[in-house]
């Protein structure tokens, strides 16, 4: 029985604002009222009731949307400020001390307090949908009707023997449901009991009207949920008044904490229901209300949420709101002090949906943006940077254009292969003929490294700067290893410029030695395309760089000569010697360029130089292979 009165747990009050669901009002454990903006997902305002620790807030209810003040049909001008969707403003809070607080969210201040009528805890507040009336039900077993225009109680009556735990005003504003010992339906005009419903054994925590039809049409339904009860009951208000038991019940996993529903306006329209249970699960129901149904209905879809930790901890859902779009939901989850709000698309075809959310990082993000209103998207090391020259910046060369031509030259290609075979033979002979210990060592190492993809060996080999050595090593690389070598070089050239400088020598050597082999490959364009793009993009700035270099050089020499003139003219012999040292000094002093930088210029230049050479050669190769494959033999 509902005798246990004050001891039942309603949970912490948590309500979405009506219509657009712009705000979530939440009273947390610390007794403060916080209003969160669901659009930006930030804290909108915080209100501390004057006696928030003793008279804690027990229930919250949003007032109906405020209307923009409109005079008697003003003449509408051409471009007048448009009527924005009505703003919500007032919030009624019931407290444990028996008073009702009306808080204005627009002003961010207390609007008025309604007190001295209840002697017990206010369990429920409900606004009248049309008039300026507010209903509150309390532990003192009374219901009070407040007239908000005067701020005084208009009417107070005893509703039950047990505390009034829940109230609900019908959408048309004519009926009031109250729950105490039994559920009673009151006619608000006469304040008479219209119907009584019995069935719940524990305190009824939730009452909601499910339809908007008039009471005498057999079509008025409402639902109720009670503490420690895993069923949500639907009651029918029947014409003949023979309504004894609930007609339908919905199965839940725990007692309901937050209910949102879309009332059905006609028989063809289903009732949509979202219930958040005490265990943090959300159940979605859809049901056509039409007479009794024996079996308890199971949810259409159940939504759960977990964290991202290694052992997933369930994240409790606090509230859920339905939207006009059947697939999307507005959820609030996390803890009451810092809830996270989110609009999610839920696939209702699946019976069980589990969402994974990183609550901790999300929480830390929400607090920052409250004042500045700037959100910073996450930029981490995982993101990829594509610069000109790297694969992905330009379309991969697919050789689609050349494919037809290649087909036509199929016959000739055979001959090239034969020729290459001969070259291979001869080169192998050459290797055998004069084995130089060191170079042979390098070539073997290189091949090994390429085969095993061992970075250490490759690094060792590629560190060489001696041109002769490189040339010889490349010459000794067996033909099957050439392509992997080119690929390796390409990969390394995409990296740091310093390695690229080294790689240019190798590439040059490879291209000089093995052009004929490379030209014979059928997918040459694809193989060397990346290299080609990279070289092209790197050389693009070469012209400007040389110009800059030239200008700088001119400037530096001017600085040096002018400095010397000031110094002394006599010591002609020493000038030559000092020139170099002062050159460097001046350079670093005047231009702020560190010495290393000037070195880099040189290196860069050589690199670019080489790269350009490479490109030229390479483009020649492409041209050869594509257009005039016959030329090659002549070259040889």
């Amino acid at each position: 029985m509902a005798a246990d009165g004050g001891s039942f747990s309603l949970g912490l009050p948590c309500v979405f604002s009506p219509k657009s669901r712009q705000y979530l009002a939440l009273c947390a454990q610390d007794g403060r009222l916080r209003i969160w903006n669901t659009d930006i997902k930030t804290l909108n305002q915080e209100y501390v009731p004057s006696a928030h620790l003793s008279a804690t807030c027990t229930c919250i209810s949003w007032g109906p949307c405020r209307k923009a003040k409109e005079g008697p049909q003003r003449k509408k001008r051409k471009s007048e400020a448009g009527q924005v969707e009505n703003q919500v403003d007032l919030l009624a809070l019931g407290t444990a001390a028996g008073s009702v607080i009306i808080y204005s969210t627009v002003k961010g201040a207390l609007h008025c307090t309604l007190d001295a009528s209840h002697s017990g805890v206010v369990n429920c507040v409900q606004w009248h949908p049309e008039d300026c009336l507010l209903y509150s039900g309390s532990d003192d077993t009374h219901i009070v009707e407040w007239d908000l225009q005067t701020g005084k109680a208009r009417c107070k009556w005893k509703a039950d023997r047990a505390p009034v735990t829940s109230l609900c005003v019908s959408p048309d504003g004519k009926l009031l449901l109250s729950a105490g010992h039994t559920i009673k339906m009151w006619d608000l005009e006469t304040k008479d009991v219209y119907r009584k419903f019995t069935g719940h054994s524990t305190a009824v925590t939730t009452l909601r009207f499910a339809t908007t039809r008039p009471p005498d049409s057999n079509g008025l339904y409402f639902l109720s949920g009670a503490a420690h009860d895993r069923l949500l009951s639907v009651w029918q208000v029947r014409e003949d008044g023979k309504d004894k038991n609930s007609v339908v019940s919905f199965n839940l996993t725990d007692e309901p904490h937050h209910i949102d529903l879309f009332t059905s306006n006609s028989k063809e329209e289903a009732l949509r229901l979202a219930v958040v249970c005490k265990d943090g699960q959300l159940h979605l129901f859809e049901h056509f209300l039409n007479g009794p149904c024996k079996k308890p209905l199971s949810p259409l879809c159940t939504v759960q949420m977990t964290g991202v930790e290694d052992s997933p901890i369930p994240v409790p859902l606090l509230a859920a709101a339905l939207t006009t779009d059947t697939h999307s939901l507005l959820l609030a989850y996390g803890n009451h002090l810092q809830p996270v709000m989110e609009r999610v698309e839920v696939n209702t075809a699946e019976r069980h949906v589990c969402l994974t959310r990183d609550v901790h990082t999300t929480l830390s993000l929400t607090m920052e943006t409250t004042v500045s209103k700037v959100k910073t998207p996450v930029v981490n090391a995982k993101s990829k940077v594509v610069v000109p020259g790297l694969p992905g910046h330009q379309a991969p060369v697919k050789g689609a254009l050349g494919s037809e031509k290649r087909k036509s030259t199929d016959a000739k290609e055979m001959s090239i292969e034969e020729r290459l075979g001969k070259i291979e033979m001869s080169s192998e002979k050459g290797v055998k003929g004069a084995p130089s210990l060191q170079t042979d060592n390098f070539a073997v190492l290189l091949v090994q490294g390429l085969e095993s993809k061992d970075a250490n060996i490759l690094n060792k080999v590629f560190q060489t700067r001696k041109d002769m050595l490189i040339k010889k090593t490349v010459a000794r690389v067996p033909l099957p290893a050439v392509l992997p070598l080119v690929e390796e070089i390409t990969k390394r050239m995409q990296g740091h410029p310093y390695t690229a400088v080294l790689m240019v020598r190798w590439l040059k050597a490879v291209l000089m030695q093995h052009t004929s082999y490379l030209a014979s490959l059928p997918d040459l364009v694809f193989q060397l395309g990346v290299l080609y793009h990279m070289i092209e993009s790197r050389v693009k700035m070469f012209h400007k760089l040389t110009k800059l270099h030239g200008k700088l050089y001119l400037l530096m020499t001017q600085v040096v000569t002018s400095g010397n003139e000031v110094k002394d003219v006599d010591h002609t012999a020493k000038l030559v010697y000092e020139e170099e040292s002062s050159d460097e000094d001046n350079a670093s002093g005047d231009e702020g360029l560190p010495d290393e930088d000037s070195d880099n210029w040189e290196e860069d230049e050589t690199m670019e130089d080489k790269a350009e050479e490479g490109m030229r050669m390479e483009s020649k190769v492409t041209a050869d292979s594509d257009i005039e494959p016959g030329n090659e033999s002549e070259e040889e």
């Binding site: 400020a81 448009g82 379309a395």
Partner: protein, 830 residues
């Protein structure tokens, strides 16, 4: 101009709220600012819009508090009226018709019933000469009063509202213009002029920008273009005036303001730093940096506890006691331009466009409120003129809102262009965008268009650039090495022509790219050039595919007054009309296409279906200037309008941005009716207790009043009081040497105080007994005497004043008595 009864054009997206100096009310609860043709009232604590004062028919150019009534404000407007308002309830009290456009308004406590206005000189209507006039506001009961008695105070003043200020107790007014400071003394009816040298030789710009007078002392602070602040003293004579210079700002000083007590001077400029000078120690100053944008106005609340600064990005910042930014009222950010189009974020349904420099702003169309700025560039913005900094120039969302692509660009004159293409993935785990791929220099020249493919299977982005290529970017799938990142898939071009626009068909199976005069149609699946369409002369300006039943049509608008429609099945021209279309916009939810045409300085709108020859809706002279950006925003709830003219607005709403950066939209009658029907006025009494002390005293007072009203014999109530006062009197009036010891007296004294409560307890007990009886009665009545309360309020008016009391009144009375206020009342009585 045709104004249709059903479809109306309405303003959205807030007007300029930084146009004039905001006003903080006396109780610091509200902030008033001029916003377009109305005055908006905001709450200073919640930054929420409370209501607006509507009535002016032109731009509001000034708002000031009425010095004689702190619950009223004057507002002046370019429509030639000054209006007096009650701002708490948004009631227009009076309208004073001046007859000239007003540019600013000044009031002073000393000059009651007089307002000082800046109006154009009567003789030179066309020229830019203004005068400061004093207007005596006539006392009259009428709503509208003509006030044509203008008496000129100063001639040739600046129309800038910061260029004049009242001095100490309204004795003089100081005005600046160009290089001259003019001070007019009301008592002497004499003005002094002080001028500065132009000082151009050292690069210093001495011109005055603003002026503020010290409220308590004879001191005038003036701001200058070179960032100096001069403090003028001893200016009541021509010769021996002095000034000292304060210099911190490196740009022009935009605004100056003294705090009400004159202890501090606040100044702000382009550096977006609020500088807080101490008046007595001029070398000492405090700063509040990083306010986001150049400061244009500063206002201080009358009690000096709140400052507010207006900023150039349409923002008002409320600062608490100079150290903490407590609230930011942000309108639609109106930067230098909108380079990104108007886009709708599919996830939050917010409007997305350029916001703060380097940011994208998300603007809620439903609540007409800015949601947040998304920092795209992530580089510190340097508040200085003449710097080239990165700007977001293009943005696009994919169909589901999982990807956001942005292009940022640094436009430097005569130097290499820097472009970055960034692709952001929406991460559901963290509920935020995460940078996925950055492509530096995706093109060699400016990017002209960027779109995601609408097809659900592939995530593809197409960019077209002036370098003569268009590139398709694809999210690499599992087969690729760089899985999950974006890479270029295709580079296309057409005869080295420069592509200007591109468009995907609704299903993503076709891509059309406009290369100057030629429209090329490609298949994104194989990157084959399917066909080319051309209708010279005139380059293609905008392209779009038809939707749904009209998907076989491709529409193109060319620069040479042509709107063409091609049939893609036959690859031939279906129809073409001579129209100078500046913008084509398709409704994603219907076949409708909106075309904005610019004609003779104003824009026309046509809404049509490609398959039908007659437009669904047309509106001539929509607004002046070209419409550059427009978007169809899908509605939450479909409207069910059957009228032919308004049907096109059923599924989505058309928003567009004019040249003056006003966001406008169309609303239908049915929609407004729905809004009106769904809402009703809530009248809630807001008699709120302000302080705990008021709560205590006020309650007591109220109860005393009640008592006096209700009781015919108030003496019955006060019986216990004289006893207490007698004891006190005795104690106070007997000479000290006759008094017994204090310990003896104390007990007696305390007992004397306790008497009242003991008598009350007796009554209480009595009452409790009665209550129980009542309860029993109630129960026996069947738990219903709901009218009891009503009878309490209405109870027997004919008997009022008679000794007989109603039951309810009696009970009320007893309750009052049980409450122990005796200690307080005894104090009060003493």
């Amino acid at each position: 101009m045709v104004v249709h009864a059903e479809i109306r054009m309405v303003h959205r997206g807030g007007s300029k709220i930084n146009f004039r100096e905001p006003v903080i009310t006396h109780d610091s609860r509200f902030l008033l600012c001029a916003a377009g043709e109305s005055v908006n009232v905001y709450s200073t604590s919640t930054e929420e819009y409370v209501h607006d004062l509507q009535g002016h028919t032109d731009l509001v150019t000034g708002v000031v508090l009425n010095p004689s009534n702190h619950l009223q404000v004057y507002s002046c407007s370019a429509d030639g009226t000054v209006r007096l308002w009650d701002f708490t309830d948004a009631i227009l009290i009076k309208t004073f018709i001046i007859g000239y456009p007003i540019y600013s308004i000044y009031v002073s406590e000393k000059h009651g019933g007089v307002v000082f206005l800046v109006v154009p000189m009567a003789n030179y209507k066309s020229s830019e000469l203004f005068q400061l006039v004093a207007v005596h506001l006539p006392h009259s009961g009428d709503q509208e009063v003509e006030a044509r008695e203008l008496s000129a105070v100063l001639c040739d003043v600046s129309h800038h509202p910061g260029a004049a200020s009242f001095g100490r107790e309204g004795e003089y007014i100081a005005a600046v213009k160009g290089l001259q400071l003019e001070v007019f003394f009301f008592k002497k009816q004499k003005s002094y002029r002080f001028s500065l040298k132009s000082g151009m030789k050292k690069g210093a710009k001495n011109a005055f920008t603003c002026v503020s007078c010290h409220p308590k002392e004879d001191c005038i602070a003036t701001g200058h273009e070179d960032g100096k602040i001069r403090m003028w003293r001893n200016f009541n004579q021509k010769k021996e005036y002095t000034y000292s210079t304060l210099h911190w700002h490196h740009g022009a000083v935009n605004t100056l303001c003294f705090t009400p007590e004159g202890t501090n001077l606040l100044s702000g400029g382009i550096e977006s730093v609020l500088v807080h000078w101490h008046y007595t120690q001029e070398n000492q100053k405090d700063f509040l940096p990083r306010l986001g944008a150049a400061i244009t106005h500063i206002a201080v609340s009358p009690d000096g506890s709140l400052f507010c600064t207006s900023h150039s990005d349409n923002k008002i910042t409320i600062i608490q006691s100079c150290v903490k930014v407590s609230a930011v009222i942000q309108g639609l950010v109106k930067g230098d331009g909108v380079w990104t189009n108007l886009i709708i974020d599919p996830r939050s349904k917010a409007l997305v466009l350029n916001g703060k420099p380097g940011h994208l702003q998300f603007y809620s169309l439903h609540h007409d409120k800015q949601l947040y700025n998304l920092d795209i560039v992530q580089q510190e913005y340097i508040h200085e003129e003449g710097l080239d900094q990165f700007e977001v120039v293009k943005a696009a969302f994919d169909a589901r809102g999982d990807w956001l692509a942005t292009v940022e660009e640094r436009r430097k004159k005569g130097a290499e262009l820097e472009i970055n293409l960034k692709l952001w993935a929406y991460d559901e785990l963290t509920q935020s965008f995460v940078l996925n791929t950055t492509v530096t220099a995706p093109h060699e020249d400016r990017i002209t268009a960027m779109f995601f493919s609408p097809s659900p299977e592939t995530t593809m982005l197409v960019t077209t650039s002036l370098d003569g290529h268009f590139k398709a970017w694809l999210l690499a799938d599992h087969s690729d090495a760089n899985e999950g990142f974006w890479a270029c898939d295709f580079v296309g071009g057409y005869h080295l022509l420069k592509p200007g626009c591109c468009s995907f068909s609704a299903d993503g199976s076709l891509l059309s790219v406009g290369f100057q005069e030629v429209v090329t149609v490609w298949s994104p699946a194989s990157w084959e050039l399917l066909t080319t369409l051309s209708q010279p002369p005139g380059a293609i300006r905008d392209l779009c595919f038809g939707r749904l039943s009209c998907s076989k049509y491709l529409l193109g608008a060319s620069t040479k007054n042509q709107l063409c429609c091609w049939n893609l099945l036959t690859c031939s021209l279906e129809w073409s009309t001579p129209m100078d279309v500046s913008l084509l916009q398709t409704d994603p939810l219907s076949e409708n296409i909106a075309a904005f045409c610019s004609q003779s300085g104003s824009s026309d709108l046509f809404v049509f279906k490609p398959s039908e020859p007659r437009p669904l809706y047309s509106q001539k002279a929509l607004c002046t200037g070209k419409v550059q950006h427009a978007v169809f925003a899908p509605r939450d709830q479909m409207l069910e309008s059957c009228e032919e003219r308004t049907q096109w607005l059923n599924r989505s709403q058309l928003y567009f941005l004019t040249q003056h950066m006003d966001l406008l939209t169309f609303s239908t009658k049915t929609e407004e009716d729905r809004l009106l029907a769904s809402s009703k006025q809530l009248m809630v009494d807001d008699s709120v207790a302000v302080t705990p002390f008021y709560l205590l005293l006020g309650k007591h007072r109220g109860q005393q009043l009640e008592k006096q009203e209700a009781l015919t014999n108030p003496m019955a109530e006060r019986t216990q009081l004289p006893q207490g006062s007698i004891a006190i009197k005795e104690l106070l009036h007997t000479p000290a040497h006759v008094l017994p010891s204090a310990s003896f007296l104390c007990a007696m004294f305390v007992r004397s105080l306790l008497i009242s409560s003991s008598s009350a307890r007796e009554e209480k007990e009595h009452e409790e007994g009665e209550m129980e009886r009542e309860k029993e009665e109630e129960d026996s009545e069947g738990e219903a005497d709901p009218r009891l309360g009503e009878s309490a309020t209405w109870g027997h008016p004919e008997e009022f004043g008679a000794p007989a009391l109603t039951k309810a009144q009696e009970r009320e009375l007893r309750k009052v008595r049980t409450f122990d206020h005796s200690w307080l009342s005894s104090l009060l009585d003493c």
